[in-house]
């Protein structure tokens, strides 16, 4: 009796095709990536065009804002608190070795404001909301609800994507502020109550190393992250493959791709914002060479 494995075995190939096949596969991958990027750009353009042309109804927008923003608050606050504490735990030993434990506040707060706050809020949003949006839109695609919208003369991008995109864009700064605040509080609580660092010196050093720009820095980043989550997740949902497996893949790829783009964007935005800072305040003591 034969097994299924035998049927799935690829046909025997010559040495030339064995050498060229990887190139063909690579070429196909590159072409597909370019195609997806182009498709995503068009999708983003359509979303922005509809956003400018006609705002979504208040009901739709508020429902999405509640789902995306309000329901994300507890998880963002909780993770923010623990990240602040973890930062304190990890940095304490090194700082103590140099007798600099009172400087911990500056490090924790600056890291939370500039990096961990925005990235953490974005990651939580991509995981909690991005995947859900992709799964919901994917299910709507599979069950022809998106076709039904079009057939009734409603534009699916305007009706489904714009409110989600706008909610991500408008509410991620608030989530970032919440993550930062809770991280700062968590870090301070751990340092003061568990590591017995002097409150006065801790808060004085915290103030010394953090300025308004740092908060703006995180918020600017978060707006880009929010836009990325909204667009990538909706795009993945809209282009969902048929069946339950397709919906699952859409949800997974929405999170993975959003996260990758967020991390890459984070690097470039950090470089850009640091350059803007040094251009605007060339003599600031916050600059390493200042």
């Amino acid at each position: 009796m034969s097994t299924g494995l035998e049927y799935s075995r690829p046909p025997r190939r010559g040495i030339v095709s064995a050498l060229t096949d990887p190139l063909v596969d690579l070429g196909t991958l590159v072409l597909r990536s370019i195609e997806t990027l182009g498709d995503m750009t068009l999708f983003a353009w359509q979303t922005i065009r509809w956003l400018v042309a006609r705002l979504p109804s208040k009901d739709t927008l508020y429902t999405n804002m509640y789902q995306i923003g309000v329901l994300s608050l507890p998880v963002v606050a909780l993770t923010g608190t623990f990240i602040g504490m973890v930062l304190a735990v990890q940095s304490y030993t090194q700082f103590r070795a140099f007798g600099l434990e009172t400087q911990l506040g500056g490090v924790i707060n600056r890291t939370m404001f500039r990096e961990l706050g925005p990235v953490l809020a974005a990651t939580m949003l991509a995981g909690r909301v991005g995947s859900a949006m992709a799964a919901e839109l994917g299910t709507m695609r599979v069950t022809e609800q998106i076709d039904a919208l079009s057939s009734m003369g409603a534009n699916p991008v305007h009706y489904l994507v714009v409110p989600r995109f706008l909610s991500c864009l408008l509410l991620i700064p608030s989530l970032t502020i919440m993550a930062v605040f809770m991280g700062v509080v968590g870090g301070a609580a751990y340092c003061v109550f568990l590591l017995n660092i002097d409150v006065h010196h801790y808060s004085a050093n915290s103030k010394l190393y953090v300025e308004n720009w740092d908060l703006l820095y995180g918020i600017i980043k978060s707006v880009f992250f929010g836009a990325t989550i909204g667009l990538v997740s909706c795009y993945r949902g809209f282009n969902c493959k048929p069946g339950a497996e397709g919906v699952g893949q859409a949800a997974t790829s929405a999170f993975v791709q959003s996260f990758v783009v967020i991390i890459v964007l984070d690097l470039f935005l950090s470089i850009l914002l640091d350059n803007i800072y040094s251009y605007l305040w060339p003599t600031s003591p916050m600059l390493l060479n200042g």
Binding site: Q145, D147, A148, M152, G153
Partner: protein, 271 residues
């Protein structure tokens, strides 16, 4: 029946998805007021044809004309306007899960006439009565309804804008024979009460023969020779009974025929 001016003209239509050809050289003319059933086995492109008519699928070649206008050449605004002249009943009703039945039925009206909310409820109740549903369903979500009820809600939603053309995609699929017949009767009643042109995609011969004035049978391209036409039959319900093409008679009688031989051959090859 008097033959009216065609409201839908399909001209030399080809549709492909990537390398897969689904429709080839389809030409059809649908007069206003006609009820046309498009039959054929699964995968022959019936639903794709229906979606191409309303511009949800773009043709690779050829075009669809609705009321003298090419659907593929309309801009977004005009396409939206023309789509309000259609009602589409989807295979699984495609009701919006997040909305109640009332919100589903009212959706097209709220979308296109947001300022006339006072008259919306009357229209909704009239359509609900037309499809024979009690008002108690209005507050329910689609997930709480049976398959037959969902189809009826889908029909009420499709009728709410008083469409000129109704497109039905497998209206009786997945329903028991009694509920299927209820849907058939509803389609016939809808046609009597509203002067609509209907195109029904189905593989249910009972629906096709009972409801339609004209039946068109499509055949899957994968099973056709390059020079063969994809439309195997175009005629009335009476005419299809006397069709000469073996593939047509096999389909209307529901006989496996040479498919069974092919299946056996494949099984032998596998073993």
């Amino acid at each position: 029946m008097t033959v009216s001016k065609p409201i839908i003209e399909i001209n030399e239509l080809d549709v492909s998805f990537g390398r897969q050809d689904v429709l080839r050289d389809i030409s059809l003319s649908v007069p206003a007021g006609q009820t046309l059933a498009i039959i054929g086995e699964s995968g022959c492109g019936k639903t794709v044809l229906l979606k191409t008519i309303i511009g949800l699928v773009q043709p690779t070649r050829g075009y669809v004309e609705f009321d003298g206008q090419r659907i593929d050449q309309l801009d977004d605004q005009e396409l939206t306007r023309q789509r309000t002249r259609f009602g589409f009943v989807f295979q699984n009703a495609a009701l919006f899960d997040s909305m109640t039945v009332a919100e589903n039925i009212l959706f097209p009206l709220r979308q296109h006439h947001p300022g006339e909310r006072a008259s919306h409820d009357d229209a909704m109740l009239a359509r609900l009565a037309e499809v024979g549903l009690p008002t108690a369903v209005l507050r329910k979500r689609p997930a709480e309804l049976s398959g037959g009820m969902r189809k009826r809600v889908g029909l009420a939603r499709a009728l709410i804008m008083n469409p000129e053309v109704l497109l039905y995609d497998e209206p009786t699929t997945g329903l028991d024979p009694i509920v299927s017949d209820v849907i058939n009767e509803l389609m016939m009643r809808t046609r009597k009460q509203n002067p609509v042109t209907s195109i029904i995609v189905t593989h249910d011969m009972k629906t096709a023969t009972k409801v339609a004035d004209r039946i068109v049978m499509l055949y899957p391209l994968a099973r056709l020779a390059d020079d063969e036409e994809q439309i195997l039959f175009d005629g009335s319900a009476e005419e299809i009974e006397g069709a000469n093409d073996r593939r047509v008679t096999q389909f209307i009688r529901g006989e496996a025929g040479d498919r069974l031989m092919e299946m056996n051959e494949t099984a032998e090859e596998v073993v």
